[in-house]
């Protein structure tokens, strides 16, 4: 177990290093941020001074090592646009994304998994076919379009919900979050549903497929032959088996949603990190881009680690081994 964790941490470190090089080089290649930042009327002297100030006159490798050196000291750099430390910037936006994503994955799993299990338990029934049709819509209709439809319907036509923004914040444990206020919930629910549809479709299809497969296995037949009622067979025997792929996908989706809820955040004008990264790319705000992407890598590595640990708990055949 300790060996496994150690090995995982070393892998994570290697991934982070590789990723930072790729990101840094990529960002270096897409252009000079000074051209965007500076007043077009500024003269060459001011331009040169600024370039020197950000270290952009240095060769790539030197810039990279300067960046790494700063990161090691805990300094991820300062946003060129907002002129605040990147860490503060990201952490000021992170709670908004976190709450949005948590609500949306809860909706996706809470509705998607039971619906998929139902559809897999009654394959061919009318309700199962309806669920499957909806799941196809869920992950084939573009998110932004559904988002706009939701806004049109519930914000513009019916006027039940606000069309965007984050709403009032309240204190929940240590966080300032809109999940603590009714107004906050009214703001979060629509983008969360929008964000959950794709994942819900995925969860439905995965759990249905697992269910259909599992119900045909011999251990289910054997359980039936012992006189176990179906609800017990599903909850005690099958659920555990099908939860293994579900956990994998759930983890991946959680990570990618946290990092790239961009479209939904843009449609609903949600002040989360997705919007931050898009803005920073548009403005060539290098420190934000680089640091953000490195943080995303760390996030993915962490989520995968947790997924592996859950795996080992779910499936006794999986043993967490260190070494090769």
């Amino acid at each position: 177990m300790t060996g496994f964790l150690l090995q995982r941490l070393m892998q994570a470190a290697a991934v982070i290093v590789a990723m930072s090089v790729i990101v840094f080089t990529g960002v270096f290649a897409i252009g000079n941020p000074i051209d965007v930042l500076i007043d077009p009327g500024a003269d060459q002297a001011i331009r040169a001074k600024l370039i020197a100030q950000y270290g952009l006159d240095q060769p790539l490798w030197r810039q990279y090592f300067a960046f790494v050196g700063n990161v090691v000291r805990g300094d991820l750099g300062t946003s060129m646009v907002y002129n605040v430390p990147v860490v503060d910037l990201v952490f000021s936006r992170l709670p908004a994304t976190l709450e949005l994503v948590l609500v949306s994955v809860t909706i996706a799993a809470g509705i998607g998994i039971p619906a998929g299990i139902w559809a897999g338990y009654h394959p061919g029934s009318l309700s199962a076919r309806a669920i499957m049709a909806l799941s196809v819509l869920g992950f084939s209709v573009p998110t932004f379009w559904i988002g706009m439809l939701l806004i049109m319907t519930f914000a513009v036509q019916l006027g039940w919900l606000p069309s965007g923004g984050r709403g009032d914040l309240g204190q929940l444990l240590w966080f300032e979050t809109s999940l603590a206020t009714a107004d906050g919930w009214s703001h979060v629910i629509m983008p969360a549903i929008n964000l959950s549809l794709f994942k819900m479709g995925l969860m439905i299809r995965l759990s249905r497929a697992g269910m259909v497969e599992a119900m045909r296995t011999d251990y289910v037949r054997f359980a039936r032959a012992q006189g176990l009622p179906d609800h017990q067979i599903v909850t005690r025997h099958v659920l555990r088996n099908i939860s293994i792929p579900l956990v994998t996908v759930f983890g991946l989706e959680l990570g990618s949603t946290l990092a790239f809820a961009v479209v939904t955040e843009s449609v609903f004008n949600w002040p989360g990190v997705g919007k931050l990264i898009i803005d920073s790319i548009l403005q060539l705000d290098r420190p934000v881009m680089v640091s953000y992407l490195v943080m995303v890598v760390v996030l993915f590595v962490l989520i995968n680690l947790v997924v592996d640990l859950i795996y080992a708990r779910l499936d006794p055949r999986v043993r967490l081994k260190g070494g090769a």
Partner: protein, 321 residues
């Protein structure tokens, strides 16, 4: 004495795309307590479907279309699903062919067995585990306490099959249907399990229906043999008699295909052809295309069951020796 299991006229059909398939066609047999019935046939002869029909585990598009199934005098057909479920495991149990697949890989053996205990009897988890441990000991598993804590993948195939048999025995059912439980095992393990089963039948009075394609297994184990072909029982009689003097040409063919008793190096006699498609049975006797004794009568008229101590479904049975 009431038979532990009495099956009369059982017919099971599947409504498939190829048409209505009669997988089990009007079969009858009964087993007394403590006796072992061997149900023998090739793949697709309907022997497993017979087992599942008895337990009421035929799923759509299949259905038990006709017949009576009595377990210790209780008619199972027409029971409400919940009542049928209460019979399964407690009065009639089943063991499957592949021990690698019949146990849930992610649950401890003890949890699975305790679940099977508690579904029919209200008792504490601890008591259920104790019952499971006793059942494991009954089937000759050493250190049952440790086996209960194990996951299926930590046990050998023979051990797993013993666990499955122990699970079937938990409620001391009057009938156990064993669907080729030794086919997937090593020959030495097979022998041990057969001996174990024989002992259990003798000691507990459980009636056993032993489904197999292996005549050699059944000849040493069973008291009575039913030979199935294309969904019908074509020959039925006491084991020694059927083995020593088969009367149906198919049984003869099966016995001749067993390697023992032939000179080494000589080609084994085979039954020509293969089992017919159930959806597309030949008119008359279904075995006719493969039968060395077939006549024009067999081509047109299905044979009726003639009963003179032995039941043989044939127009031209071999003479009793």
């Amino acid at each position: 004495m009431t038979a532990a299991l009495d099956v009369r006229g059982l017919t099971t059909r599947f409504d498939t795309r190829a048409g209505l398939v009669t997988a089990v066609n009007d079969i009858s047999f009964s087993v007394e307590p403590g006796r072992i019935l061997g149900l023998v046939g090739e793949s697709g002869s309907g022997k497993s479907v017979t087992g599942f029909s008895i337990l009421g585990l035929i799923d759509a598009p299949g259905e038990v279309a006709a017949g009576e199934i009595r377990v210790a005098g209780t008619e199972l057909r027409g029971l409400a699903p919940a009542a049928m479920r209460r019979m399964r495991g407690s009065k009639v149990a089943m063991v499957f062919q592949d021990p690698m697949m019949t146990l849930n890989p992610v649950l401890r053996v003890g949890d699975q067995m305790a679940m099977a205990v508690r579904v029919h009897e209200r008792m504490s988890k601890r008591a259920a585990w104790a019952r499971a441990r006793d059942a494991l000991a009954t089937v000759g598993i050493p250190a049952p306490e440790e086996r209960l804590m194990a996951y299926p993948h930590q046990l050998s195939g023979g051990m797993r099959q013993r666990v499955a048999i122990a699970t079937a025995l938990l409620h001391r059912p009057g009938v156990i249907i064993a669907d080729e439980p030794t086919t997937a095992l090593d020959v030495s393990i097979q022998g041990q399990i057969l001996a174990e089963i024989r002992r259990l039948a003798d000691e507990t009075g459980t009636a056993i229906v032993w489904i197999t394609h292996d005549l050699a297994v059944v000849s040493s184990l069973a008291d009575e043999i039913c030979v199935m072909y294309a969904g019908r029982i074509v020959e039925r009689g006491p084991a020694e008699a059927v083995i020593a003097a088969p009367r149906h040409p198919y049984t003869r063919g099966l016995l001749d295909s067993v390697p023992s008793g032939h000179a080494p190096g000589q080609p084994l006699p085979q039954i020509p052809g293969s089992t017919p498609q159930l959806a597309n049975l030949p008119a008359g006797c279904p075995f006719r295309p493969r039968c060395p004794r077939a006549t024009d009568l067999c081509r047109t008229t299905p044979p009726a069951r003639g009963s003179d101590g032995r039941e043989v479904l044939c127009h031209h049975p071999l003479e009793a020796a």
